[in-house]
């Protein structure tokens, strides 16, 4: 089973690394988003520092919808999902493989985004505790996002449907991630932002369970 998941992951990453089109689009969009927020909200100096965690996570949330939509749409265009379903009886394997590849995509984006945000807002995002929060938040986001993107690409509105479906469902994630990040930037320890970390962990576990349980109903022919 692990081998199958690994195979799906490898296939997706190979496809993406070959063209890098999704990743570059996400990166450029993310930078544009951060700049837009900074201009529109006049995020200079202390205001910027206070707003930085929020801007970071909002950017991740919106950029994520781009990447997720594109990733699932590409799969659909190439008839990939049908192929995957023939290759593996177990729908869970397909879901986990796709969710992991989307997760990796977003983490790669964040490797670019965190240093950038550090430079723009003059706050140090590039530290282990913050990275942990980013990973936890992204796991939940990628899990919910992969499932909902699989639904969205099969609607008439397609990609437009994804943010509408996804954003209300990641409210706990956004609140948890923003406040944990903000706390850590102010000098609190991980233990002190513990309740927010708990929300992230519980969300990740619940969402993974729910998504795994329902994915087969989404891709059923």
């Amino acid at each position: 089973m692990l081998r199958q998941i690994g195979a799906i992951l490898a296939k997706d990453l190979a496809a993406e690394l070959h063209t890098r089109e999704i990743l570059s689009a996400m990166a450029v969009f993310a930078i544009t988003a951060v700049l837009t927020f900074s201009f529109a909200l006049d995020l200079r100096g202390a205001t910027g520092e206070a707003a930085a965690p929020g801007v970071l996570w909002t950017t991740i949330a919106f950029t994520g919808t781009l990447g997720l939509s594109r990733s699932l749409a590409r799969e659909q265009e190439s008839g990939g999902i049908s192929g995957l379903m023939l290759a593996s009886e177990d729908r869970t394997v397909i879901f986990v493989g796709k969710a992991l590849s989307n997760l990796v995509l977003m983490l790669l984006l964040e490797i670019v985004l965190l240093p950038l945000a550090t430079i723009f807002f003059d706050v140090n995002f590039v530290r282990p505790s913050v990275v942990l929060i980013v990973v936890l938040g992204t796991v939940g986001y990628a899990t919910a996002g992969t499932l909902l993107a699989a639904i969205a690409v099969n609607t008439r509105a397609r990609e437009v449907m994804l943010p509408i479906l996804l954003l209300p469902l990641v409210v706990p994630l956004l609140l948890g991630a923003v406040h944990a990040t903000a706390g850590l930037l102010e000098g609190l320890t991980l233990a002190e932002v513990g309740s927010w970390v708990q929300i992230l962990v519980v969300y990740d576990l619940l969402m993974t369970a729910a998504a795994v349980a329902t994915f087969s109903y989404v891709v059923e022919a």
């Binding site: 639904i151 609607t155 509408i164 479906l165 469902l169 409210v171 609140l175 927010w196 929300i199 619940l206």
Partner: protein, 222 residues
Amino acid sequence: MVRRWWDWLLIGLSVVMFCAALVVVFLYAPREATMGDVQRIFYFHVASAWVGFFGFFVTFLGGVLYLVRGERRWDILSLSSAEVGLTFITMVLITGSLWAKPVWGTYWTWEPRLTISAVQWLIYVAYVMLRASTVGEERVARFSAVYGVLAFVTVPLSWFAIRWWRTIHPQVVSSEGMALTPKMVQTLMASLATFTVIYVTLLRERMRLEQAQDRLAALREG
């Protein structure tokens, strides 16, 4: 699809109970000390919230039963409850804003209950839009059932997250610390009962409509 006797009973009860509720809310319930008469909107506001959130639970239940059993009637229950629930949540937001303005001086505040209601509203709207955007009756049912389940799972977490968020930041306006006298509690109960009956009535009507549409489609084909 034809109205049965219990449908008529529900409709009758709804009308009678609502009229009674109006009397109770405006004449029986005491005038609140600090807020005055505008406080009376509380009875409809809380009742709408109860129904709005309960409706989502029913949507979730219908979704689970549909996924497990595959029977169209569970899907009908889900979609009907979602539409009726959306109506009530809309009322929560509107009545909340109307009440907030004279009492707090602002139409909106990021107070936990208003915030979670806004999130719930968005979830309901997403559900309805998803249904409208999907082609194929069976696919619509499956997709919306999955979304209903996923969304329901996140609501309790959203509630806690929003509560913690609001307790950290000092609130510009404090949430109503109303001391409820027995008469007020009775009025609230009456209002809750009334709105629940109205919910069931509307739910039943919406389900009947959907069943009729199914029947029409079947007649057209066959």
